[in-house]
Amino acid sequence: MELLIVTLIGLMLIAALAAVEARDLLSSVICLGAAGFSLSVIDLLVGAPDLALTQVVVEVVALVLLIRVVVTRRDTSSSAPRDALRTGAVLLAGGVLLVAAAFSVGVFAAGKAGVIPPFGQPLLAGKGPVAPGVSKDYLGKAADETGAANVVTAVLLDYRAYDTLGEATVIFASIIGTYAILRHVGRREAPADAPAGGAKGG
C-alpha cells in the first residue's frame, strides 16, 4: 500500500518535472493532467473517494481550459530558464525547504514530539503525544447530529458550512473576475458625459 502510494507520488513528481521542462506547451499541459489524475488515484487509495471524484472532474475542466489556451496560440518563447541566478536561488531555497521538511517529518528524530505524525498514524489513531483532535467527534457524532452518512459532507456542509460559503464565494469571485478580465474595452477613451450615477456601462 505504502509502496503503491510512493510509486504514484513518484509518478506525479516525474509528470510534474516533465510538465515544467517540456518544450511544447501542449505536452506540458498534458503532463500536468497526468499528475492530476495520479493525485486522484492516490485520493482513492487513502480513503478519500469524494476527493478522487472532485479531483477528476476538476482536472478535466482545468485541462479543457488550459488546452484551449495553448492549442490555438502561437508561442515564441524559448524553453530555457530565465537566468542562472533565479534557478540557483530557487534550488537553494528548495534545498532548505527539503531539509526543514526532513526535520519536520522526523527523519532525524523519529517518534519524538514536535514532528508531523508518521504516515498512517494521525492523531486520530490515538498514538501521538497529543489527544486525538476534533475529528474523533466528527466521526462519532456526525450521523446522529447531522443525519449525513458521508462524514466529509457533514463536515463540509454542516459543521463547517461557513467555510463552504467561502468556497462558493471564491468560485463566484473568480468567475466574476474572469468576466471582468475578458472585457474588450476596460475604459472608454473620453470621459462619458452621462449624468452622475447613471453611467453604468453595458
Binding site: A100, A101, F103, S104, V105, A109, K112, A113, G114, V115, I116, P117, P122, L123, L124, P129, V130, A131, P132, G133, V134, D137, Y138, K141, D158, Y159, R160, A161, Y162, D163, L165, G166, T169, V170, F172, A173, S174, I176, G177, T178, Y179, A180, I181, R183, H184, V185, G186, R187, R188, A190, P191, A192, A194, A196, G197, G198, A199, K200, G201, G202
Partner: protein, 510 residues
Amino acid sequence: MNALVPLFVAVPLGAAFVIVALAHAGGLKRLTGPLAVAAVVYNLVAAVIFLGVGDLSVFVGGWGGPGKTLGIEMVCDGLAKLLLVTINLVALVSIVYARGYMRRFTRVWLFEALFLLMTGAMNGVVLAGDLFNLFVFLEIAAIASYALVGFGCEAEELEAAFKYLVLGAVGSAFILLGVTVLYSLTGHLNMAKVAQLLPAAAGPATMLAAASLLGGLALKAAMVPFHAWLPDAHPSAPAPISAMLSGVLIKASGVYALARIVFNVLGPSHPYATILMVLGTLSMVVGVLLAIGQWDFKRLLAYHSISQMGYVVLALGAGAGVVAAGGERAIAALCIFGGLFHLFNHAAFKSLLFLSSGSIEQQAGTRLLKEMGGLSRRMPATSFCCRIGALSIAGVPPFNGFFSKLVIIVALMLSGHPVLAVVAVGVALMTLLSFVKVQRYALEGAPGARSAEATEAPASMVVAMASLAVVCLVAGLAMVLLRDHLFTPAGDALLRGFEGAKDLVTGAMP
C-alpha cells in the same frame, strides 16, 4: 448581539450576489450602485455600534459551546473591531469615490460585485477564529483583488495583475501548508485550541509551520523581501481599488493575520519577534529608498505603503519582543498601541493620497509628477486634500501620522531598541523629503504639460477625499480618546497571547 456578527460577512457577500442578478434585470440595473453603497454603510454603522459591546464569540451553526469546538468560531474582540471599523470606513469612502471615478469604465457592476466580495472577505478574515476559515477568506479577498487590479484591461494592468496573482497564489499555498502542519500536530483548527495544544508539540514541525505561515503572510503584507508584486499591482488598479489595497487589504490579510498568528496562535516568543522586527525594519528602509527616486505618483505612494507598513510590523515585533522577554506590560502595550494606531492612520492617509492621485490622473491625464504642476489653482479641493494626506504621512503635527510615528519611536526607545528608533526617525525624514517633492512638482509651480486644462473632480470624489482628510486631522487630535476606546481593547486582544487564548473560546476549555 452575537447573532449579528456573521452579518458583517453575509451582508456584503449577499449584496454582491444580488448585484450580479440585478445587472441583468433591465431597469433595475441602476440599483446596483446604491445597493453597494448601502451594504457598506450598514457594515460601517454596525462596526461602530459593536465598539460599544464587549468581546463576542460565535460558533457558526451552533456547533460549539462548553467543551466542544466542532464548528467554526467567529471572534469579535478588540482587534477585530478596530480592523472592522478601519476596513469599512475606507470601503465606504472608496465606493462613494468610485461613483464618480468609475464612470469611464465599462460594466461597473462587475466592479461593484468584486468590491463587495473583497470587503466582505476582509471582514471575514478579521472575524475568523479558525485557521482554515482565515485561509478561505484570505483567498476570497485575494482573488477579488487580482481581478480588480486588472479591471482596466490595459496591457500593463493585466501584467501587474498576473504577477500579483502568481505571487499571491504561492503565498496562499504556504499559508495552507502552515495550517496543514499545525493541524497534523494538534488535531484542531480552532486558533485558541491550537494555541493551547501547540506548546506540547513544540519541535521542528512547529518551526516549519511558523516559517510557512510567516512567509506566506509577509508576502501578503508585501514585507521586504517579499514586496516585488506591490509596486506593480497597487498603482495599476483603479484609484478606489488602490486605496482599498494599500489602505486595508495589505493590513487585513497581511499585518493583521501576522499579528494574530504570532500573538494569539504561536505565542510571542523571541524568534518570531525578531523575524517581525527584521521584516519591519527592512521594509521601512528599503521602501522609502525606492520611493525617493519615483516620478510616477501612484508608484511612489505604493513604495511608501511598504515603508509605512514596516513601521507597523516593527512596532508589533518590538511589542512581541517585550512580551517574550517578560518585560513590562505597559511598554509592550505602548509598542502595540503605536503599531495599531499607525495601521489605522496609514489606512486613512494612504487611501486619501491614492484617491487624490486618482482624481489628478483622471482630470489632468497623467501620473507623472513632472507633467503636473500648478494643480493647487486648477483643482483646489483635490490639492487641499492631497496636501493634508501628504502632511499626515510625512509626520507633520498636528496630523495623525505625526502622533503614531512619535508613539512608535518612543516605544522603540523604551523597549531597548535606540538604534531602530533612530532609523525610524531617519525614515520619517526621508518620507517628508519625498512628499516635499510631491508638493513642489504636483501642486505648486507653473502648470505642467498636462495640468494646464485640468478641472476639479466630480462632487462624489471630492466628498470622499474631504471626509478622509477630516479623519486624518481628527484622529491626530483625538488620539487619547481613540486610544482608550479603540486601540487599548485591540492591544489587549493581542497581549493576552495564548495565556488568555482560552478566553477566545468561551468556556470551551476543559
